[in-house]
């Protein structure tokens, strides 16, 4: 009963929060509300027995995204003169929203309510996949091709983001005035690396994997960015490029190798599948961490300078 109440509450809160995010006039409040909504939604995912991906949602979908947006707000004016942050008055908006929800809800409610989906098929072939965790099996074996393209998506995004803001690479961040955070970071680093390595390894059997590990590492990188003299990695450095691209190259190599012995793309031999997947995941972890880290363009210009430029 309590559980049902909790579910109902969560389910009700999420769209309401979403609505609030978009209604709020202040952009920074919007982002804060968005993060809150994301955390609640991670909770909802956990209630739906998806604890591992709920962590990713919390860390990346909410944390990293929220940080990115917050970071952007520090670059942009809170409210540019020509664009209002508030929704234009659109009477049709509410009607459209209700109609869309109604229509989609109708479809959702007509879905069978105890369908196992592909659970049986996944389990049936789990032994051949080389890993023990079904999600990892889907992600890196059954549908490994999706993941290959997903890596391409990440590369494109980082390439695009760096391409439009090449200057920020040169922006040296303000060193933190607080010596404590720097010290903290130094202490944290080995722990982060350990946790990331563990997550990759555990991904073969249970919740975890390259993406989770990469997110952890990237988190460390972002903290470093904000607290130490360490700048954003630059594309012009060959070390950065190798760190970024070794994973994709290995993955592509692993994907095409079977082609030369008459098998299909990504058709690993059963005996080697586990090893191949582990190595690929390890390399991808580094790449994913690099990409997520590089999404952050460095520090904003110091507040004092900005305000000095403001016409007043």
């Amino acid at each position: 009963m309590t559980a049902a109440l909790l579910d109902a509450c969560l389910a009700l809160c999420l769209p309401l929060l979403a609505w609030l995010v978009l209604r709020t006039e202040s952009l920074s409040q919007s982002v804060v509300l968005f993060v809150a909504m994301g955390l609640l939604s991670a909770l909802a995912w956990a209630r739906l027995d998806a604890p591992d991906i709920s962590l990713v949602e919390a860390a990346v979908g909410t944390g990293l995204t929220g940080a990115l947006l917050m970071h952007t707000l520090s670059w942009t004016d809170e409210r540019p003169p020509d664009v209002a942050a508030r929704a234009r008055h659109r009477p049709w908006a509410v009607v459209a929203m209700a109609a869309l929800t109604g229509m989609l809800g109708w479809a959702v409610l007509s879905l069978p309510s105890d369908d196992p989906g592909l659970t049986r098929e996944v389990d049936a072939h789990l032994a051949e996949s080389g890993v023990e965790h079904p999600v990892t099996a889907v992600l890196l074996n059954y549908r490994g091709y999706d993941t290959l393209l997903e890596i391409a998506v990440l590369l494109v995004a980082v390439l695009g983001a760096r391409a439009v803001n090449p200057r920020s690479e040169r922006t040296t961040p303000e060193p933190s005035r607080d010596p404590l955070t720097g010290e903290l970071f130094r202490m944290m680093t080995p722990a982060l690396l350990l946790v990331a390595g563990y997550l990759v390894w555990v991904g073969e059997h249970g919740p975890g994997g390259a993406f989770q590990a990469g997110a952890i590492l990237a988190g460390g990188g972002v903290v470093a960015l904000l607290t130490t003299r360490l700048g954003t990695p630059r594309m012009s450095s060959w070390r950065v490029r190798w760190a970024l691209l070794t994973g994709p190259l290995l993955f592509i190599g692993a994907a095409v190798a079977p082609l030369f012995s008459g098998r299909a793309l990504l058709e690993y031999r059963e005996a080697q599948a586990g090893t191949v997947i582990f190595v690929v995941e390890l390399a991808l972890t580094v790449s994913i961490a690099m990409v997520l880290w590089m999404f952050f363009p460095g520090m904003r210009p110091a507040r004092a300078e900005r305000s000095g430029k403001e016409p007043s």
Binding site: A18, V21, R143
Partner: protein, 111 residues
């Protein structure tokens, strides 16, 4: 009503809010937020669909799709905010120039 259906409906509602919000805002950050909300809605629907059989492990296929979805969504956000940031800097430079002040970008760069 089953818990999955409650959450699926919630996801659908989030999606609608996000989608309509996307088209009724002009500020790029708001629109990026809206698209993230809509994305979370879709992913919530997928997560809910995975948990329809009340016993046993949930369907791993939607979970894997969701992971991919998160990556795509954060990539799009990163690209979007990079563009928005650049636009803001160009505007700031233009504004500074029009008021006779020096280039704030150059100042930021040499700090």
């Amino acid at each position: 009503m089953n818990p999955w259906a409650v959450y699926a409906l919630s996801g659908v509602a989030m999606f609608s809010v996000g989608l309509v919000g996307l088209f009724s805002h002009e500020h790029p950050v708001k629109r990026i937020l809206a698209s993230n909300i809509a994305g979370s809605g879709v992913l919530l629907v997928l997560v809910a669909l995975a948990r329809r059989e009340p016993t046993g492990a949930p369907d791993p296929v939607p979970h894997a799709l969701v992971l991919t979805g998160i990556v795509v969504s954060v990539s799009a956000t990163a690209l979007g905010v990079a563009l928005a940031r650049r636009i803001a800097r160009i505007d700031a430079t233009a504004k500074a120039e029009s008021t006779g002040a020096s280039d704030p970008e150059a100042g930021g760069g040499s700090a």
